[in-house]
Symmetry: C2
Subunit: 243 residues, 2 copies
């Protein structure tokens, strides 16, 4: 029975339905707590709770003193993960193509590999690694975080380190990269990430674990954190001509 559902879910379901089927357009106002209590015959707590649920779902946004409004679903910018190899475009070219100006900050550190990183690089125990932290910004606004790890000894990452320059640098060190593997998952941002990336409440991030392989040996791995409300990842896979 739907009538046995929690009261606030009735409110949530009704408003959500109106949003997804278009009865309420982006920017349209949502009834206030007081109006909801009257309209649905529920207590203030239930109304408040319903609004909070919809807000954490990302369907509405609250503006203090003003009201709740249907959230405009932002356009997800494409992030072409492999394209730079085919077209020799630098990382961030997509974002640049949107008219924004991207800048990078980075910091190179020596560190000991954590167990997790040691395993990803197939190193034993606590081996020294070079850790580089990047912050990619567009028009001053943070867009992406990345942390790269590589065994010490391949030389220092250059100013404009990109996958291409990484491959070139490793190649100069006698290491031929044969494969790049990216593992993608979604998760809740850590407080520091939420802060640095200025993420609204309820937004997830796409976490990309990228590893450069030379044969069966991992030579670099990195963690890339991407705001889930701004980007989508694009992977292209060419097929050989069919017989």
């Amino acid at each position: 029975m739907a009538s046995s559902d929690p009261v606030y879910l009735r409110v949530v379901a009704d408003i959500r339905r109106q949003i997804v089927d278009g009865s309420l357009s982006p920017g349209a106002p949502i009834p206030s707590r007081a109006q909801l209590t009257r309209k649905y015959g529920v207590g203030e707590t239930a109304a408040r709770h319903a609004l909070r649920v919809l807000a954490t779902e990302g369907l509405i946004v609250g503006r203090v003193g003003s009201g709740h409004y249907v959230r405009a679903r932002p356009t997800l910018l494409p992030l072409h993960r492999w394209r730079f190899h085919d077209h020799h475009a630098p990382v961030g070219a997509d974002v640049q193509a949107q008219g924004t100006r991207t800048t990078r900050e980075w910091r190179i550190e020596r560190a000991e590999a954590t167990p997790d990183i040691a395993q990803r690089l197939r190193l034993d125990g606590s081996v020294p690694v070079t850790r580089t932290r990047y912050v990619l910004r567009g028009d001053g606004r943070p867009l992406q975080l990345a942390t790269s790890y590589e065994p010490a000894g391949f030389g220092e990452p250059a100013a404009e380190e990109t996958p291409r320059s990484l491959i070139a640098r490793l190649s100069a060190a006698g290491v031929k990269v044969t494969e790049i593997v990216e593992q993608v998952y979604t998760r809740v941002p850590q407080p520091a990430e939420s802060d640095t990336l200025a993420l609204p409440a309820g937004v997830h991030v796409l976490h990309v674990e990228r590893t450069h392989w030379a044969g069966d040996r991992p030579v670099e791995t990195s963690d890339i954190v991407i705001p889930g409300d701004r980007f989508r990842l694009v992977y292209t896979h060419p097929l050989p001509p069919q017989p």
Copy 2:
């Protein structure tokens, strides 16, 4: 000033810190509402709110009548998105390799292309398309949803439709697939998806828009919905030998 922060955030931050730094191991009990009110000197509402925030973040789970516990971060099974082309393994091979038995249900329908689908297939107006809905299950438990669209006239999808068989069927129809593009983003599941996939509260899904291209013409596109708390996507990109 940290003291000007909302009270419940103090509780959230303190518990979250203990979880992420390992002071509280997976499965460890979280203080109850009553205990939190005493320990932090806050009202019941703040304690309740703090627990709810941590729960929607996925850090803890509540068991009614028992308590809240640190959630064991589930192992994310790898979903190798391209492997089937290199190794001729069927879709779902990863999951099968984990020892589970996968089954598929599907339903083929004629439908008119929605504006979104028409644009993705570069069709004009409301053109008839073949829509196929899949539910992939492992040991009876739903693992993945997919909806495939193709212009009517390439023949009906077969029982064991996979990307390979799709490519073969299109090839038989004189259409040579040259490229597969996958676009990945994270979003909140729709209620129906949350229901079908039996998703816990607060879990996001990975949404993959996959399109098969024949030259510059899209010949099939599909929406694939994957529980974000169970899977990670793996993309492999081989590099040509460096000069």
